[in-house]
């Protein structure tokens, strides 16, 4: 087995194990920390796919900002543990397992015919501008994908205003 496959398996196992741990933990803080484990493993997988820039951004934005926000909220609320467990739709829990099995079966059915097994070679000469480098992201984001980029700024502005209105109390 090649070195790449070993690396892939290691990171895939980390990703899946911490993803499962999200569900197994009762305390949301531990769930959030497990999700960070998945995010880091995914970032490593992005590197194996030559998406270095996205891998770095994954850590800066996801692990370094979004999850910090989650952990802040969990720490600020500090939900008492001994809450009565109200569960109105009991069936859902038992529906989840066959549903998951169905999805996995479907996935194997769909993935079976895919035969692509190697990444395309890096074009020689302009490795600086190959897919996945900062240069390729920059040049296409600000030309071909200009509209989504500009709309993003408006989305962020709306999120600032919305979150502020929702989270602040009157006279706070």
């Amino acid at each position: 087995m090649g070195q790449e496959k070993v690396l892939f398996i290691v990171f895939a196992v980390i990703a899946i194990a911490s993803a499962l741990n999200i569900l197994l933990q009762r305390n949301p803080l531990y769930s959030a920390l497990s999700l960070i484990g998945t995010l880091l493993a995914l970032s490593a997988l992005y590197v194996t796919l030559r998406a270095e820039f996205i891998a770095a951004v994954q850590i800066v934005v996801y692990a370094g900002a979004i999850m910090v926000l989650f952990i802040f909220v969990i720490m600020l609320l500090n939900v008492p543990k001994d809450q009565p467990q109200v569960e109105k739709q009991k069936g859902l829990r038992y529906l989840a397992i066959p549903f998951a099995g169905l999805m996995i079966a479907e996935m194997f059915y769909v993935l079976r015919p895919i035969r692509l097994s190697t990444l395309p070679p890096v074009p020689s000469g302009n490795a600086e501008q190959a897919v996945g480098t900062t240069w390729s992201i920059g040049t296409s984001l600000f030309t071909d994908y200009l509209l989504p980029f500009e709309v993003t700024s408006v989305l962020i502005l709306m999120a600032v205003v919305g979150a502020m209105v929702l989270a602040r109390r009157e006279g706070d």
């Binding site: 270095e52 770095a56 951004v57 850590i59 900002a65 910090v68 952990i71 802040f72 720490m75």
Partner: protein, 344 residues
Amino acid sequence: MTNLLLEWVIKTIVILLILVTAVAYATLMERKVMAWIQMRVGPNRVGLGKFRLWGLMQPLADGLKMIFKEDIVPLQASHWLYIVAPALSLIPALMTFIVIPYGSQITLFDHTIELHVTRLNVGLLYVLALTSVGVYGIVLAGWSSNNKYSLMGGLRSSAQMISYELALGLSIVSVLLYTGTLDLVEIVEGQQGFHGLAWNIFHYPLLILVFIIFYIASLAETNRTPFDLPEADSELVAGYHTEYSSMKFVMFQMAEYLNLITASSISTTLFFGGWNGPFVGRLPLLGPVYFTVKVFVLIFLAMWIRYTVPRFRYDQLMRFGWKFLLPAAIVNIIISSTVILFMR
């Protein structure tokens, strides 16, 4: 491949050993500098046998003392997180240094050795990513101790770190506008001209302002005094590490000094030409020397500031970060990009 791997392993271990020693002596340097500024002598007793050696063995004695301190895990603490938190703070701090170039290349036994562990296309982003992950150690230490001072210190500290991380990131963007690359090796190589004195800060005068913003933000990022609010001892005892003792406490201290060294190295790389200096082209061994000298000048500056400037109040700190540094960094980006657009 195995050759390359061996070279990496050796380089990594050497770098780590140098870093750990540098951290140990940075603590001694801190106490000496503090002593000089306050017109005292500072630690000067611990030496080898009869020879006092100006207290040069002090870090060793401190280390031994800390190892044999009792390791306490408070009863109400979240046991696991309490133990893991210092490691989460130390590991990212140790990992940053591998992308920083400390020399060009030297030839040893017919074997050319590049004086950097590795070069990444996204080197600067790698550094930023590790900085942003460093928050977790502090926030989790504060939470898991189950102590009011720790929690408050951890929350305040992390809020401060993320606030100044913005100014840090945006000031780096101004540098990127001039260098056009995220690769730190390339950034240093771009400053080689004019007898090794074409440092970015001389070449582009606007970067002086950027450097000031960057330096202040990195001081705040490393939680050093004017910005050491999280451990303001008059209000929060020792902040997030109130409950920590023994080597766990040492790990937080190591992380703090490592971050200081890293921040100084990044400043050197981005603004002061990295390993560049006169005659470095003819004598590559001068590279690491220049680099070390520059880094230590910046560390000395940080210590000087620490013992000269009084501590901010928390509201002043947040106001300064958000209402002064952040807009200043943004204005700098606008000015720099306009200059580049109409340059030539």
